[in-house]
């Protein structure tokens, strides 16, 4: 698989009720790519599942990555797999860290987490403490037992403090806002992570208190987009590996149309990228995947296939192995 790293599950342990912390290291003990708080990795799980998890813990440690995964009752497989099947010693493929939620320059930082949303913010706490930037963390959980990193967060910090609220005790962000939020100060940034409802509520409340929108940062993971049509489709050529025949594919043509016009049989069925009947192996070139039948893992996997009815090419030429 391209652009993935192989890691081994070094350890799994309970991090509050319903949460598991998972430490991933390089199999040969090598250092892993650098990351910064707010970064996440794609974790490739068996069965073609790819899930995004925020990195947490000490961002200076490159000996291993730490993620923390909540058990969700309506898991579509990722959380369930990690909670029920993942074992220490198991090897997994991950992506390099990407950061869509970085800490930006600030005089002071307010962090608000709900539930498992603590994971990126806990890494931010450690970085801010290290950098000597004043911070406050407000962390909401339903019940005390559900708290992740509770001992680490109970540790006194020189530059900030952490408060944990329990909605079971009536301390819900719906009922009151921390004082830090009610008086926005220039140079202070707010970082939110948690369920959609929580983030929407806090963001609206902060805006109502006069926070500048550019000082409010949040991240919600989105499932990978199924088919993202490019703003403008370019022309390219398609080559048959078997005969070497090559034809241009104009911006307004599909590969299938060009092949049919040249008397080549194409196994078409749905003609809209949903069924996969026309998936054909690619031997050269990079596919611009437009179909919604292949999984994200297949689209980024080593054995590339192109849906001739709708997909295009990112390279000038695409060579395909069409069965005779």
């Amino acid at each position: 698989m391209c652009n993935t790293l192989e890691v081994v599950v070094e350890g799994i342990w309970r991090q509050g009720e319903g949460n598991l912390a998972v430490r991933l290291t390089a199999p040969d003990g090598a250092t892993l790519p650098e990351w910064s708080p707010g970064a996440h990795i794609d974790v490739h799980l068996p069965g073609g599942l790819i899930r995004q998890y925020s990195l947490t813990g000490n961002p200076d440690s490159r000996k291993g990555y730490l993620i923390c995964v909540a058990r969700t009752p309506d898991s579509r497989g990722g959380s369930r797999y990690i909670h029920e099947s993942l074992r220490p010693g198991q090897r997994l493929a991950i992506s390099a860290p990407r950061n869509l939620f970085p800490l930006e320059k600030a005089d002071k930082v307010v962090l608000m987490a709900a539930g498992i949303g603590i994971t990126p913010l806990y890494a931010m706490v450690l970085r801010l403490e290290d950098a000597g930037i004043p911070f406050t963390l407000h962390y909401y959980v339903r019940r005390p037992e559900l708290t992740a990193f509770r001992y680490q967060l109970a540790h006194p910090f020189r530059f900030g403090d952490c408060t944990i609220y329990h909605s079971s005790a009536g301390d819900s962000p719906r009922h009151f806002l921390p004082e830090a939020l009610t008086r926005p100060v220039a140079g202070t940034r707010l970082y939110l992570c948690g369920p959609d409802g929580f983030m929407t509520h806090v963001r609206q409340a902060a805006l109502a208190q006069g926070w500048a929108p550019e000082n409010i940062h949040s991240e919600a993971f989105q499932p990978p987009a199924l088919s993202a049509p490019a703003p403008s489709d370019g022309a390219f050529t398609v080559t048959l590996a078997s005969t070497g025949q090559r034809w241009p594919v104009a911006a307004d043509q599909t590969i299938a149309r060009v092949l049919l016009d040249n008397g080549i049989d194409v196994p078409l069925s749905c003609e809209m990228g949903i069924c996969g009947a026309c998936l054909t192996p690619v031997t050269e070139g990079r596919v611009d995947h437009r179909d919604s039948v292949q999984s994200a893992a297949e689209k980024s996997g080593p054995r590339q296939q192109v849906a001739l009815c709708c997909s295009r090419s990112l390279t000038d030429n695409l060579t395909i192995r069409l069965a005779p």
Binding site: L49, R76, S269, C270, I274, A277, V293
Partner: protein, 345 residues
């Protein structure tokens, strides 16, 4: 269980390689409540089986007396086991022969023990696996809510379909046929539209969350749902032949139906349907059986007349529309398991 090399039975209707792939999976063969100390007949993947209980434990074995090959399901039983009608040999715990009436003092050779298969009782069904793979054991399908406290457990009588299990299961996953086939039971003939949905691959197959306005209340009682209520139907497909459907009724009401299609042969299917529900508990179980039987009967004509009889895994052989995303995911999943051309007769 006696170790043996799994081989397809005589007159097997499957391709031998595909038979072995299916034989490594768990399949239901009977309702647990239908099996007692009497020999009970079942057929799985063309293999005739005898099922019985001894001291409460279910045994599944090939339905053939190791002595002279007579089916044990023609025989009798007593408190110590099932008895072959030909020479009275008796088989008890774990299928072991425990009596040879013609030679009572003779030691009993191991060759006289029945060829047994592992048994699991789950969701009110007896499941077996003809060719367990010790290195890579197949998982048993799971069913949401079956074990939850507030839920009632119901098991419809098995339903025989003269069709291939793959076609039957695909019909269960199909969301575009409600308005055409099921308008007499629950669907609205004027609401044939299928909103888009997107199946998600899992380690056991896939799940699909299907949101629509098609009510799941019986025809005539649709107004029990608030106007404009959006129904969530969550399908979980456990390859190859077991799917569950969780219908999210208004409020916290849930109905779960497991469609466990047992492949009797390549052309015959025995469908089991455990049901779990946490509402309408006052409605007698007999009425639930009758309602589901009507729904299954509505599907019968379609599934039994589809051609080709088996399921074309080569997706270029049939036409597909966006409503078929689950059926496409199903065929791709089976293909990934290695099933081949046999799915096409």
């Amino acid at each position: 269980m006696k170790a043996h090399r799994p081989t397809p039975p005589a007159h097997c209707s499957f391709d031998p390689e595909d038979w072995l792939r299916l034989a490594r999976c768990w399949h239901p063969v009977a309702r647990a409540c239908d099996v007692d100390s009497k020999p009970y007949k079942a057929v799985l993947l063309d293999e005739p089986l005898v099922l019985y209980r001894i001291n409460g434990l279910a045994v599944a074995a090939r339905d053939v007396c190791p002595h002279r090959g007579v089916p044990l399901t023609l025989g009798f039983h007593d408190e110590a086991g099932i008895i072959c009608p030909y020479h009275g040999l008796r088989f008890g715990e774990e299928g072991r022969c425990n009596r040879i009436p013609a030679s009572p003092d003779c030691p009993i050779p191991a060759k006289l023990n029945l060829m047994t298969f592992p048994v699991e009782e789950r969701y009110g069904l007896i499941w077996t696996c003809l060719a367990p793979d010790a290195d890579n054991p197949a998982p048993l399908p799971t069913m949401p809510h079956w074990h939850d406290a507030a839920f009632q457990q119901i098991n419809c009588p098995p339903f025989e379909v003269n069709g291939f299990a793959g076609r039957q299961v695909e019909g269960f996953l199909d969301v575009a046929h409600f308005a055409w086939v099921h308008s007499a039971t629950f669907a609205d003939p004027d609401n044939p539209l299928v909103p888009d949905y997107s199946p998600q691959e899992t380690d056991y197959g896939f799940t699909a969350d299907y949101w629509s306005t098609v009510s799941n209340y019986p025809a005539g009682a649709e107004d029990r749902a608030p106007p404009g209520f959006r129904w969530l139907r969550r399908f979980e497909m456990h390859l190859p032949f077991t799917a569950t459907l969780t219908v999210h009724f208004p409020g916290e009401d849930r109905l779960v139906i497991m469609n466990a299609a047992s492949p009797v042969s390549a052309r015959k299917t025995r469908m089991f349907a455990p049901i779990a529900r946490n509402f309408d508990l006052h409605i007698p179980v007999g009425e639930v059986h009758a309602f589901n039987l009507r729904v299954f009967e509505e599907d019968r004509l379609m599934v039994e007349t589809q051609r080709p009889e088996k399921l074309p895994l080569d997706l270029s052989l049939e036409a597909h529309i966006p409503a078929d995303r689950s059926s496409i995911a199903y065929r791709r999943g089976l293909k990934k398991m290695g099933f081949g051309e046999f799915f096409l007769v």
